[in-house]
Symmetry: T
Subunit: 69 residues, 12 copies
C-alpha cells in the first residue's frame, strides 16, 4: 500500500429518505464505471423542500479509488 | 427563476432518533409560518448525552425560501 | 453550571449501518471509562468501500464531559 | 456609532447578467422592508447552467442594518 | 428538550470598552423583542480606530432561542 | 429529481475582462464535452498582473452535471 | 527546545464574568493534574443566556504542555 | 523562477461600480510604489449601503510581487 | 469614501491582563508609525502559561488604514 | 495565457519516505495519461502508522492542467 | 474493522531538520505509551527562527489509535 | 516577553528540491532586511510542473518578528 496512487472524484447522491441512502446511491452509481473504490468522505449535506416537507436529500461525497499502474 | 430573491434562516432541530428526523422537525416547524421554502443546508450536527447514552440529536440547518415581490 | 470545566476528547466510531450507529458506538464505548459526558459534536463523516459497496461508516466525534473538582 | 446594535440577514439575489446585479437585486428587494441598511458581505457565488450556458447567477449576501433603540 | 426547535439570529453589538460589553449590549437589546433566548456564539471580533486609538469594539454574535410550538 | 446522481468537476477559466467572463469561458469550454450541466460554484478568484496592471482574471469553478443512468 | 514533544488537550472553561476568567479557570483546573503547560489557544467563545441576560461564558481552549522523556 | 522569493501584501480597493474596478483600483494604487507585482488573490468582497442602495464595493485582495535579490 | 484604498497589516499584541489590552497595545504601537488607521479585526487569540498560570495573552490583529493618494 | 482553461484533478500520492516523494509519485503517475500539467496544490498530509512507526505518507494534491481547445 | 473505535490525540513534534523528522519524533514518542496507533494527520506546520535562520520545525499532528474493547 | 509587539509578514519561498528548502530560502531572504524574526507558520504549499515533473515548490509562510519600541 505504501506506493499506491489514488484519485478522488466528487459526486452528489440523492435520496428521498436520508443521508445514508443518498451516499449509497452515489457509491453504487460510481461502481458501474469505477473500479477499486476504497473510501468516501461526506463533504456537504443539503436537500430540497417541496410544500413544506423534505422532498429529497442531496449529499456531496468525495470517493477515492486506486489508480492502476 | 432568474430574478428570484431568497432569504435564508438558521434553525436547530432536535430528535431523540437521528439527524434526518431532527432536520425534518426543523423544516416542519418552519412550515407553520414560512411559505415557499425551497432548500436546506446542514451546517452543524451535535447532540446531548445523558447517563452515557445519546439523549437527543441537535442539527443546525439553514433554510432558503423565496421572497415574494 | 457557571463554574464547570469540561474536557473534550475526539473519537472515531464505526458502523456498517450508518452515521447514528457509528456515533452511538463511540459514545457507548467511551461510557465504559468516562463519566459525566454531556454532549457530542460530529466533526467528520467518511467510510470504507469494498467491492463497490459501502462496507462501514466512520464518524469522528468530539465528546465533552464535566471534569470533577 | 459606538453603541449601535446591528442585525445581519442572509439573502440570495439572482441575475442573468452577473454578480453585481445579483447583489443589487438582493439589496434593493430588502430595501422595501428593511430600513437603515449599512453594509453587505458576499458569502457565496454560484449559478445555474441551462443548455451549456450560464442561465443566471445566484449570490448569497449577508446584509447588516442598524436596529433602532 | 429533545423536541425543541431553536432559531439563530446574527447581531453585532458595539462597546467602547471591550468584547464582553459588546456582547452584553447585543443580548440585552435582543431581549426587548426576543423571548426564550438560550445561548450565544461569538462569530467575529473587530472594531474601529480613531486618532490612533480603539474607539469601539464590534462583536458579531449568533443568538439561539426556543421557538414556541 | 429525487434519484439523480451528479458529478462535480473543477475548472479554472480565464479572461482579461473580469470574473463573469472567466466563468463563462470555463462553462462554455466544458459544454464541448460535458452534457447535462446544471450548476456552478465559484471557489476562488485570482489573476495575473503584468506591468502594474491586471492582465487577466482566473476563476476556479466547480461545475455539477447529471450522470446518466 | 528543538527536540521537545508537546501534547495538546481541549478544555472548556466557564465564568459568569467574561472570557479571560473562563480561560483562567480552565488553565488553573488543568494545573491540578497537568505539569509543564506552555501555551493555550482560544478555539471557540460562546455562552448561556438566562432571562434575557448572559448567565455565563464558555470558552474552548486548547492547552499545550511538554511531554517528558 | 525556481529560486524567486515573493512577498504578499493585503489591500482593500473600493469602487462604486463593482468588484473588477475595486480590484483594479487597488492594483493600480499599489503600482505607484510596488514593482514586479505578479498576481492577486481576492480574499473578501463586501460593500456599503446608503439609502437602500449599494454605495460602493470594497474588495480585499492579496497582491504578490517578486522580491529583488 | 467610495474611492479609498486601504492596506491591512498583521500585528500580535501582548498583555498580562487580557485580550482588550493586548489589542490596545498593538494598535497604540502601530500608531507611532502608521497614520489613518480605521479598523482592526481579531484573527487569533492565544497566550503563554508559566507555572500553571496564564503569564500573558497574545492576540493577532489585522489593522486597516487608508493609503494616501 | 489570458484565455486558457485549466482542469484540476485530485490525487493522493504515497511514499514511505516523505511528503515530497509522495507528491512526486502522484505527479509522475498522472503524467502517464495527462498532458500539459502546470501546477499542484497540497491539500492534505497524512499517513499510516505500523508497529509504532510511520509506514508511509499519504499526500492529497490537486493538479492543474491546460485543456486544449 | 467495521466495529472499531479509535481515539485521536494531538501532539506537536519538533526537529531541527524538517517536517518528516518532527512528525517521526512525535509518533515515536507516542509509541512509548500508546499502542495500536493506525494513522496520523498533519494539522499545522510552523517553526522557530533564531539569528535569521530556522532553528527548529514544530509540526502539530493528530494520531489515531484503536481503543481496545 | 509579556509586552512585546510582533508583526507578521507573508512571503512565498521557492525551491526545486522541497518544502523545507523553500521555507529556508524565504526566511534567509527576509533576514537581509528584517531583524528579530521569531517564528514562521506554513500557510500554503504548492508548486509548478514542467514536462510532467515537479519543477519547483512554492511555500507561503507567515514570518513573525519583534517590533522594537
Amino acid at each position: 500500500m505504501s506506493d499506491h496512487i489514488y484519485k478522488k472524484i466528487e459526486l452528489v447522491g440523492s435520496s428521498p429518505h436520508g443521508i445514508e441512502e443518498a451516499v449509497k446511491n452515489a457509491v453504487e452509481h460510481a461502481a458501474k464505471t469505477v473500479r477499486h473504490m476504497r473510501w468516501f468522505e461526506v463533504a456537504e449535506t443539503r436537500g430540497h423542500i417541496v410544500d413544506g416537507r423534505i422532498d429529497h436529500w442531496q449529499v456531496t461525497v468525495k470517493i477515492g479509488f486506486t489508480l492502476e499502474g
